[in-house]
C-alpha cells in the first residue's frame, strides 16, 4: 500500500468514527425527546383527568338533590387542612347526603415509582376505604379564604369560616429521563358554596 492509500484509509476511519459518534448522539437525542414528550403527554392527560374529577366534585360542595338535607351550604365543609378536605355533597344525585374526602398520602407511601416526590391521592366517599390513585401528584395544596378574602391559617378550627379555597396541583412524571421529571401545573380558586352568596 502506498502512502496515499494509507492516508485514505486513516481518513475514512476518522470520518467514519465521527459519523458513528454523530449517529449515536442523534439516537440518544431522539430517545430523550420521545421519552420526555411521551411523559409530558401522560402528565398533562393525568392532570386534565384529575382536574375534571375535582371540578365536578368541588362544584357540588353543599349541593343535595333534596335541598332540605343541607339547609345551610355554608356549613358543608366538615374539615380542612393543607392537603385534605372533607365536605358534604350529593355524589350520585340521589337526594342522600354523602361525605366526600380528598386527601394525599406521603411521598414515602409510594415506593413503586422512581420519583421521590410523587404521592397517592385518595378520594373517599362516606368513609369507604379507597385505593390510592397514582397520577404523579407532587403538590396538592389547599389555601382557604374567609368571606372578606383573608387567608385562613392552619390548623383551621372553624371550617364554617371557609368561603373560598385555592387548590394548587403539580403533577410530575413517575419516571425520569436521567433525573429530569416532566411536570404540569394547575391552580384554581373555588368557592366553597357557590350558590350561597348570589344575589
Amino acid at each position: 500500500m502506498g502512502q496515499s492509500t494509507i492516508f485514505d484509509v486513516i481518513s475514512s476511519i476518522v470520518i467514519g468514527g465521527f459519523l458513528l459518534i454523530i449517529i449515536t448522539q442523534m439516537y440518544a437525542n431522539v430517545s430523550e425527546n420521545t421519552y420526555n414528550n411521551t411523559n409530558d403527554l401522560i402528565v398533562q392527560e393525568n392532570l386534565v383527568a384529575l382536574v375534571r374529577i375535582i371540578e365536578t366534585d368541588f362544584r357540588k360542595i353543599g349541593y343535595c338533590a333534596d335541598p332540605s338535607k343541607i339547609p345551610d351550604p355554608s356549613k358543608s365543609i366538615l374539615s380542612a387542612d393543607e392537603h385534605s378536605i372533607s365536605f358534604k355533597t350529593d355524589v350520585d344525585n340521589d337526594g342522600i347526603v354523602d361525605i366526600l374526602r380528598y386527601s394525599t398520602g406521603l411521598p414515602s407511601g409510594l415506593t413503586t415509582t422512581p420519583n421521590p416526590r410523587d404521592r397517592l391521592i385518595y378520594r373517599t366517599v362516606n368513609g369507604t376505604a379507597s385505593y390510592g390513585i397514582s397520577l404523579g401528584v407532587v403538590i396538592f395544596d389547599f389555601m382557604y379564604f374567609n368571606a372578606i378574602g383573608d387567608s385562613l391559617s392552619f390548623p383551621i378550627t372553624n371550617s364554617n369560616e371557609i368561603y373560598a379555597m385555592r387548590l394548587s396541583v403539580l403533577l410530575e412524571s413517575p419516571f425520569a429521563y436521567d433525573t429530569t421529571y416532566t411536570y404540569a401545573y394547575w391552580r384554581q380558586l373555588r368557592l366553597a358554596a357557590r350558590n350561597l352568596k348570589n344575589r
Binding site: 391552580r187 348570589n198 344575589r199
Partner: protein, 165 residues
C-alpha cells in the same frame, strides 16, 4: 481519493447535516407545542378562577343589600366597574367591579400571565352583542395573555340576576 469520491463524500455529509438540522427543528417544534399546552392549562385555570371569584359577588351594587325589580335601578352600562373608594381585592363586592380589571400572575414553575376583564350587559337571545342599557344579564369576558404564549386564552361567563321571594 479522487475528486469524484471527494464530492460523493461531501454530498453524503451535506445530507447528514440536513437530516440532523431537520431533526432538531422538529424537536424544537415538538417542545414548543408541549410548552404551549402546559401554559394553556395554567391560563385556563386562571380564567376559571376569576369566573369563580366574580360569580360569588352580588350581581350589581344595587342588589348587594336589597332586591331590585326594574332594570332601571341597575348600574348604567357606562358606570360598570369599581365604585369610588373601592379597590381590589378587599372592597370588591359586585360582579361588574371586574370591568377593566387587570392582574399579572407569575408562577415559579414558569409563565407570567396577564389577565384582562370586561363586563357588559347582554341579552340572552344574543349574548355576543353588548347592550347599552341595563339588562338582567352581565357577561364577563376574560382574556389571558402571556409573553410566553403564542395564543390568547379567552373565556366568557354570563351572570344573571335572580331573587327568590
Amino acid at each position: 481519493m479522487n475528486t469524484g469520491q471527494t464530492f460523493i463524500t461531501l454530498g453524503a455529509l451535506a445530507l447528514l447535516v440536513t437530516m440532523l438540522l431537520t431533526m432538531h427543528k422538529n424537536f424544537g417544534m415538538n417542545n414548543e407545542v408541549v410548552i404551549q399546552s402546559k401554559l394553556g392549562v395554567t391560563a385556563v385555570s386562571l380564567a376559571e378562577s376569576l369566573v369563580e371569584e366574580a360569580s360569588g359577588k352580588a350581581f350589581d351594587r344595587a342588589t348587594d343589600d336589597n332586591a331590585v325589580s326594574a332594570t332601571s335601578s341597575l348600574t348604567a352600562s357606562s358606570s360598570l366597574g369599581l365604585e369610588t373608594g373601592e379597590f381590589f381585592p378587599d372592597s370588591v363586592n359586585d360582579f361588574d367591579d371586574y370591568n377593566n380589571y387587570n392582574q399579572t400572575v407569575s408562577f415559579n414553575k414558569g409563565g407570567t400571565f396577564n389577565i384582562n376583564c370586561k363586563v357588559n350587559y347582554v341579552n340572552p337571545t344574543n349574548p355576543e352583542v353588548v347592550q347599552s342599557t341595563p339588562t338582567w344579564h352581565k357577561r364577563l369576558s376574560i382574556t389571558v395573555t402571556s409573553n410566553d404564549m403564542l395564543d390568547t386564552i379567552r373565556a366568557a361567563y354570563i351572570f344573571s340576576y335572580f331573587y327568590y321571594r
